[in-house]
Symmetry: C2
Subunit: 322 residues, 2 copies
Amino acid sequence: MNPLKKQVGRSAVFRRTTREKNPPLVVVGSVALDILHTPNGSAGPIVGGSAVHCANGASFFAETGIVGVVGDDYPMNELDFLQKRRVNLSGLEVRPGASFLWEGRYSEGFVSRETLRTELGVFADFRPRLPESYRKPRILFLGAIHPGLQDVVLKQVARPRLVAIDTFKLWIDVARTEFMRIVKRTDLLLVNDDEVRWLTGEHNLLKGTQALHKFGPQWIVVKKGEHGSFLSSPRGLYLTHAFPVEHIVDPTGAGDAYAGGMLGYLAAQPRLNDVELRKALYWASVVGSFYVEGFGPDGLKHVTRAELNARHRQLCKMAALP
Amino acid sequence: MNPLKKQVGRSAVFRRTTREKNPPLVVVGSVALDILHTPNGSAGPIVGGSAVHCANGASFFAETGIVGVVGDDYPMNELDFLQKRRVNLSGLEVRPGASFLWEGRYSEGFVSRETLRTELGVFADFRPRLPESYRKPRILFLGAIHPGLQDVVLKQVARPRLVAIDTFKLWIDVARTEFMRIVKRTDLLLVNDDEVRWLTGEHNLLKGTQALHKFGPQWIVVKKGEHGSFLSSPRGLYLTHAFPVEHIVDPTGAGDAYAGGMLGYLAAQPRLNDVELRKALYWASVVGSFYVEGFGPDGLKHVTRAELNARHRQLCKMAALP
């Protein structure tokens, strides 16, 4: 059905659109099929994975290159919406075999989620290889993959202006020491409130964040879901709100899209400093709020830049000092 | 020991300082002795109760009159710090018998709290009687007492500019219909995030808040503890942050002090509108942050107005739009 599948061979690299330009933001992470069960119903298998969600959020602001792998069963046409924005898929490898599959169920009120199935498929042997055009990104984002693979990617790029990393409990569980070694080489760490507690043993988020700075990153963004986020930097703390959402359909990928919105915005700015990071957090919040309004990437799929801007104005109005 | 105890007789009204001026803010609530067990140690019996905590927070901004009752065992001298600020105790009745006693224990990380003991004492037969000087307050705050008593108070005042009410699960459990009848006659409802869900059955806070507006109040302040708060009004939503606190000693009374800070600030403003309410939320947040740094009222006891102002500036800096 999908004409693109014809190109697939052993270790083939998928190149649908050849772009000459080097994407200023390169994202490495999972590209997956998700089956989702929520209090509002089920969906899937639909496209997902941290790299897809992140690129989805980033694509409003800057051209984004994805590094990842999928099996030859992957519905590539469902990534068309990414290509229509500014997502570069030349780093997405298509290999014979099954794609990474994740199935999960959210509890009532989205209080917790349970993994029902994880089938790694071709992701099990993934060895990231960056196309030449990806090797000088302005910003590199190491999404939720094994720290060993994050290391492989880090070695293939010329020193980017900013290296950001996301935490993910699963991979840290199996490779905590490696993860900490990678964190040491990053500028910006994205972390959930729960993960701060779990990584540092500190219940208090501020103390936990201080402890995390000692591992290396000068910037730490602590994500608190519906409660917003904060940035911790040598210049102190900066607090931001989540855009309040009335009807949550599915939170899958919202954290990745949040990271994407933030890094995409930053990748498009001439300067990288605290002020730009603070602005980036507000854009990230807007991106994240759209994300939870649909299954997987759907919440943001048909959003226009004008809609994004309108919600950003709304958020600023709700959050401005009186 | 306490010379004030000499004044006590059956149904005596305690009047230590006679003030001619009518306090612009009148607060009705419990005046209690608390025994507190926290992960940081225990304290008590120390002075507490919603009226004490609220007046403590409010006293920085406006003269506050307390309506409440204590037994003749109450350590009145421990309320000296309130009188040194602008708290008027002429509405605090001293009756023969035991004071309201509450004992509670907080879990690790202050995730939950458990009531170990509640002895109502003289509070069981409390029938609020307002001194003449209290009967024309600019703002009336109906703190956490039985809705029947809130009604008694409401009937004794000339229509204030603003009537605010706080929710408290215990009293609503036993008198939900009465509570809702009172809420109908209030302008401002203060409520915890949990209580929104529990009062309306809505898990989503925005939907829950919309449902609460239908009960009457045009202004609703939803308190989310360390995650800040938001104001819902006919003009929309307004979001504020909690001031981040590194070391929480004891959260007892912080919600009451938050309400006090808010209403005290408002009582001192010539206008009561959305803009002033938004400003009030920021001051409330600062008051609340000091509160959790000590046992019971201690966190705010020795704080100066200059320290309050400094933290307010800090919060504004952390929260200002970039």
